[in-house]
Structure formats: C-alpha cells, structure tokens
C-alpha cells in the first residue's frame, strides 16, 4: 500500500541556519511527490513538486527538495530559515497508477519551529 512517512513530529532550528524536513515514501512505480505548508487554522499551501526530471526541485519561499529514488526520500530544505517559516509541513505522494483520480496521500506532518 502507498504510504508517506515524516519521521519527525517537530524540527527546531535557529533563524539563519539551514533546515531539513524529512519525508520518505512507499509507492508502486514512479511517484509524484509534493510538499505543502499549513499555517494555523488555514488551508494547505503548495510549495513544490517532483514529477520527473531533475532530482532537485525549487519551490516557493526559497524552499527546495531533493528526490532520492534509491532512498525513497523527498526531503524539504532551505539554506537559511526565517522565523516566518514556522508552520506545519506536509509531504504528500500521488501514486501514478491510481488513474485520473489524483488522490494524495499525506504524511502526518512536521512542525517547524524557527527561533530568532
């Protein structure tokens, strides 16, 4: 069965330091991978996606993620964290063999806390 794991409930970093939020997945075939951010009591905002091509994808607000097929990972990264990056981050995967349904499977989320 398809699944997504975010092994860390919370990540704490100091402002200005690099950040990494981890994600691993398990799907059949080549996955479509996504990162979203959620601020309190708000909907999810799309950050970036990997469909095919270059393993390093760049997204909104200076975030990037690296697709690693051998490790089945898609970690979210940012070279220099901002306090305003503090939020809940979700990794999601779409199994390309689900036809045209486009269903997303989400990880449990990682709370990012950036301290000044």
């Amino acid at each position: 069965a398809q699944s997504v794991a975010q092994p860390e409930d919370q990540v704490n970093v100091a402002e200005g330091n690099p950040l990494t939020v981890k994600c691993t997945y398990s799907v059949s075939g080549n996955p479509y991978l996504f990162w979203y951010v959620q601020y309190p009591n708000r909907g999810l905002q799309f950050l970036l996606k990997y469909i095919t091509g270059d393993n390093l994808v760049k997204g909104s607000y200076g975030f990037e993620a690296e697709f690693n097929k051998s490790q089945t990972s898609f970690h979210l990264k940012k070279p220099s964290a901002l306090v305003s990056d503090s939020a809940l981050y979700f990794c999601a995967v779409r199994d390309p063999f689900t036809g045209n349904t486009g269903k997303l499977i989400f990880g449990q989320g990682t709370t990012l806390q950036v301290k000044p």
């Binding site: 996504f34 909907g43 999810l44 996606k49 809940l88 390309p96 349904t101 486009g102 997303l104 989320g109």
Partner: protein
C-alpha cells in the same frame, strides 16, 4: 485565475443535527474534487473524491456523505452529526494527476 471557496469558516453544531459544507471552484472546468478531514491539527485523511458530476467515491466508512450536483460544486453532508465528526475539513481540487492540488481555507467543525 482559479480560486476555491469553502464555507463556513467555523461551525458549532449539536450532536444529532444535520450538516452541509459547501465548496466551489472557479476558473477551471471538470476538476477533480476532494474532501479531507484533519484531526488534532495533524495528518489529513481523504474522505471523498469526485472525478465528475454525480461521481463520488468514498475512502473510509463514516457518518458523512458527499455530493457533486454541479461541475465545480462539492458538498459534504451528514444527517446526524456525532461528536467524532469534529475536526477541520478541507476541500481541494486538481486538474490532472501530475499537477498539484489546491486547497480551500477549511471549515472548523465542532460538534457539542
């Protein structure tokens, strides 16, 4: 440009009362539509999805139902709410399976 509207933003309902949450999408045609529930501010669970008018697929057995009476309208309903139906409900849409899904701002439902 495409937009998604979801309302109401917050709702407090007594146990046993009916529910109707509405979601509409503008600026696109024949989108895939989804209802997710987020419990305790964490993971999202897919409740229903629809690939076309009148086509509803349920992902988990539950007290809720969904309908799609128009191409860009998706409704989440219940005849009698349970305490366990409390949560944050999110509507989303996508066009194709290799594009991202876009989410509404969510409805905070509290059943008392």
């Amino acid at each position: 440009s495409q937009t998604i509207h979801q309302w109401p933003a917050t709702l407090v309902q007594p146990v046993g009362s009916p529910l109707s949450l509405e979601c509409t999408v503008e600026g696109t045609s024949n989108p895939n539509l989804y209802w997710y529930r987020q419990a305790a501010g964490r993971g999202l669970q897919l409740l229903f999805y629809s690939v076309g008018i009148g086509q509803i697929s349920s992902e988990v057995p539950q007290n809720l139902s969904a309908s799609r009476p128009q191409d860009r309208q998706f409704i989440l309903s219940s005849k009698k709410l349970l305490l366990s139906d409390s949560g944050f409900y999110l509507c989303a849409w996508s066009v194709t399976q290799n594009t991202e899904a876009f989410f509404g701002q969510g409805t905070r439902l509290t059943v008392v």
